[in-house]
């Protein structure tokens, strides 16, 4: 490989912000046809490096080469003109416009007098879509597409130039497994055309499936580049966090208590049907399935955000009707939602206020809220959950993902819930904090909490659960104990293969 010149090379990039050395001499080279993973915890410098590459930040030192020609990047547009294209995690598409208009946004083909050349526009776009092998055409309104297809539009945008290098930033964050397969195929096609690819992701499975080399950053420093075929998750994790991550099975050894929650034939329209399960105190029940299998919807129904069309919910043996989060909370059901920033936290508020939000009415002394009582609760859970923040005045939006998640968990623990539902406990959380959250969930079970964990990551479900419910298309396919579950039979169950169904 060394005889071929890299399509893209970053050499000794240094970038300092006031008080922080965000990048300290980072180097990275991407060969034609290579998929190069860029890994590191949140804050390791991945995004800063990509911002330097995209011309958003000017580096303090170091050089960028495209096909061994030194270049100075000044803007993402200029980078694109030079053949370096970014596919961002957050899609930036105009919902009301057509696929074609989005792909050629800002560079629509024109006829005389500034009229848009619609025919050329649609024809070129359809040609691009054909190479992507997608099931929609140039005239489709973008707002009508699924997230996965919208991402394809974003990729189509990259293909309007002849790209030399494409950077994917967490591209699979909101994709289902089937959609991932399509994405990986597109990446393989790009590879075959000799495009160099930088692939940023937290997900080990994917990294090991599709990449050729892995470069790891830690605290803004280059920690090394590994050949994917010659390394394993352990080694990469160690480079990333300086220690290894324990993801072994973890069934409870403590005694389980009484049944905390029992759900009988719960149905919510087309979202899920005839879901039955029970949950004991001290137990972690995992829900695993593809996106759209109905897991989150079950959680939302238990929390009163959706109204079931049939079925029963029994809390500690008593049938309850839950029609709003207020009632769910009163009954002792708590939900740590999957989208922490939009559903779980008030980002502009400080840590203490976020934590006491659901119960602040009970912390009054006369008409006024007792700040002392609030700080007491916050301090208790800060210590108990090891929340790293300088103090309760810290604005939650400034905390790391892991600490934010702990604030949400602390918020509900302080309500002493009978059932704690955690939806995607470690989404968007870096590797180091992941294991902390996992341990926390295990600890809570050991203390007698009844916990439901919903996750799209198989290692996570296997790691934290005592029992696992596999779902497919709104139905419970099978229930596993931690002894009988294997990766294979779990995958079978969530793919809708009915063999061995226990329901």
């Amino acid at each position: 490989m060394t005889e071929i010149t890299p399509v893209l090379r970053l050499d000794g990039i240094v970038k300092t912000f006031p008080g922080v050395r965000a990048l300290d001499g980072v180097s990275l080279s991407v060969m034609p046809g290579e998929v190069h993973a860029l890994m590191g915890e949140n804050g390791a410098g991945k995004s800063t490096l990509m911002k330097v590459l995209g011309g958003i930040h000017a580096p303090d030192a170091g050089r960028i080469f495209i096909a061994e020609e030194p270049v100075i990047m000044t803007s993402p547009q200029q980078a694109k003109a030079k053949g370096v294209v970014f596919i961002h995690q957050e899609l930036s598409l105009a919902d009301e416009l057509s696929v074609a208009e989005n792909i050629f946004l800002g560079e629509l083909p024109l006829k005389s007098f500034g009229r848009v050349d619609w025919k050329t526009l649609y024809d070129t776009t359809d040609a691009i879509l054909e190479t992507l092998n997608v099931g929609f055409d140039a005239r489709t309104r973008v707002g009508d597409l699924s997230i996965a297809n919208q991402q394809m539009v974003e990729i189509g945008r990259a293909l309007t130039v002849n790209p030399r290098a494409v950077i994917f930033d967490e591209p699979t964050a909101s994709l289902t497994d089937a959609e991932k397969v399509v994405l990986f195929k597109v990446i393989a096609d790009l590879q075959a055309r000799g495009v160099g690819i930088i692939y940023i992701s937290h997900r080990m499975e994917e990294i090991f499936k599709i990449t050729d080399r892995i470069t790891v950053l830690r605290d803004g420093q280059y920690r090394g580049t590994l050949m994917t075929a010659e390394t394993d998750e352990d080694e990469v994790t160690q480079l990333m966090i300086g220690r290894s991550l324990d993801l072994s099975r973890n069934a409870s050894h403590h005694q389980m208590g009484d049944v905390a929650l029992e759900v009988r034939d719960l149905t919510c329209g087309a979202l899920f049907q005839d879901v039955s399960f029970s949950l004991r105190k001290g137990e972690v029940l995992g829900f695993y399935g593809l996106v759209g299998a109905g897991r989150t919807e079950i959680a939302e129904t238990l929390f009163g955000l959706r109204t079931p069309s049939a079925g029963q919910i029994l809390l500690e043996g008593q049938a309850v009707r839950i029609t709003s989060p207020i009632e769910a909370i009163r009954h002792g059901i708590s939900l740590v939602p999957e989208d922490r920033k939009n559903q779980g936290l008030v980002l502009g508020m400080n840590c203490r206020d976020n934590m006491t939000l659901p119960q602040v009415d009970g912390l009054r002394a006369g008409p006024f809220v007792s700040s002392g009582a609030e700080v007491e609760i916050f301090d208790h859970y800060k210590e108990k959950l090891d929340i790293r923040t300088p103090g309760w005045r810290q604005i939650v939006g400034n905390l790391s993902g892991g600490n934010q998640q702990k604030i949400v968990i602390g918020k509900w623990l302080s309500m002493r819930p009978k059932v704690l539902i955690v939806d995607e406990p470690t989404r968007g959380i870096d590797v180091g904090s992941k294991s902390e959250i996992h341990n926390l969930i295990r600890d809570l079970a050991a203390q007698g909490y009844a916990v439901i964990v919903i996750s799209s990551e198989m290692p996570e479900v296997l790691h934290v659960s005592d029992r696992i419910i596999a779902m497919f298309a709104g139905r419970v396919m099978r229930e596993f104990t931690s002894e009988e579950v294997t990766e294979d039979n779990l995958i079978q169950a969530i793919s809708g293969i009915k063999e061995g169904r226990v329901a």
Partner: protein, 333 residues
């Protein structure tokens, strides 16, 4: 995180710093340009300034809460006018006239009730229909103003009650009655927003409505109470002002909603909700009044005043944006 707190203090203090700059500027410029030979920082002049800040100020305080909530209320000017008419008209009713001076508290009560009901109506529509507050109150602004014209046509409604005028013109500890109402309202609302559950919820809902719902906060009723509150405050503002003036034109209170919003925004409250402070709004109100008086003091025409305030408002928002964006960049390393 002392830098964060320092920045916060800076943001809260900014409007008061601006007021000091205005005071210094007009005092010095006044030495050369003043049309009168009185000093600008004359004590009586300042007391008058506070009194004149009261009508829009009281409304702006309520608007702060509405805006922290992420809503807006465009109907306050019309509510103000309608409450004023109820105040003055009711005192001419035979039943009330027979009661002598006891008519005064009753007329006050009726006027305040009017504002409260009008606000509740806004709030109820916002809650029950889920239509954006901007649209709802745009409609009620037109509707309430229509009611004003239906009552007395183009004619002013007048009634002078000298006992009431005496009360309104009184000075207690140097401050005018209107100023006292402004300060008391500010204190009460400051306590409401910083010390109570309602205030806490107001910020939470404005910042992230979904998270607030998930924390078990009843968002609809909460918003309705805020509209009730601003309706009451618009009426209170009318009651305080018209007790003294004794005559209301059907066009009175027009553009009050925009002046109130200007003061709130100048005080640093976010249009998108979730951030803002009562005290800073009070600063915003005083800053605007100071600008009006100051420009008058150095001989500028009324038209110029609006132009200058407009320019300053845009400049302030630009500055705020720059400061905020810089802060965000630094955080996102």
């Amino acid at each position: 995180m002392t830098t964060g707190r320092r920045k916060d203090a800076l943001k809260h203090g900014a409007i008061w710093g601006f007021i000091l700059v205005e005071l210094a500027f007009f005092s010095i410029a006044g030495e050369f340009l003043a049309v009168s030979d009185k000093a600008f920082m004359d004590f009586d002049n300042m007391l008058l300034l506070l009194k004149q800040s009261a009508p829009i100020g009281i409304i702006a305080l309520g608007m702060t809460i509405i805006m922290i909530n992420g809503n807006i209320d465009l109907s306050v000017g019309a509510t103000y006018a309608l409450s004023a008419i109820v105040l003055l008209d009711s005192m001419t009713w035979p039943a009330l006239q027979a009661m002598g001076d006891w008519a005064i508290p009753l007329a006050w009560g009726l006027a305040l009730l009017t504002g409260t009901v009008l606000g509740a109506l806004n709030g109820l529509i916002v809650w029950k229909t889920g239509v954006d507050a901007f649209i709802v109150t745009l409609g009620s602004m037109l509707g309430y103003r229509g009611l004003v014209f239906m009552i007395n046509g183009e004619q002013p409604t007048s009634h002078l009650n000298w006992t009431l005028v005496d009360f309104a013109e009184a000075q207690f500890l140097g401050l005018h009655t209107a100023t006292w109402f402004l300060l008391m309202a500010a204190l009460a609302l400051w306590l409401l927003m910083t010390r109570t559950v309602h205030g806490r919820n107001a910020y939470a809902i404005g910042d992230n409505r979904e998270a607030a719902v998930n924390a078990g906060i009843r968002v609809g009723p909460h918003m309705m109470w805020n509209f009730v509150l601003i309706g009451f405050l618009a009426a209170l503002s009318a009651v305080v002002f018209y007790s003294e003036s004794g005559s209301v034109n059907p066009n009175d209170g027009m553009l009050f909603e925009l002046w109130a919003i200007t003061a709130v925004v100048l005080g640093g409250t976010k249009l998108t909700g979730g951030y803002g402070s009562i005290l800073s709004t009070l600063g915003g109100v005083i800053a605007i009044q100071l600008l009006r008086k100051g420009l008058g003091h150095i001989g500028a025409a009324t038209e110029t005043v609006n132009l200058v305030i407009g320019l300053i408002l845009i400049a302030v928002l630009l500055l705020d944006r720059q400061l905020n964006r810089k802060g965000k960049e630094e955080l996102k390393i």
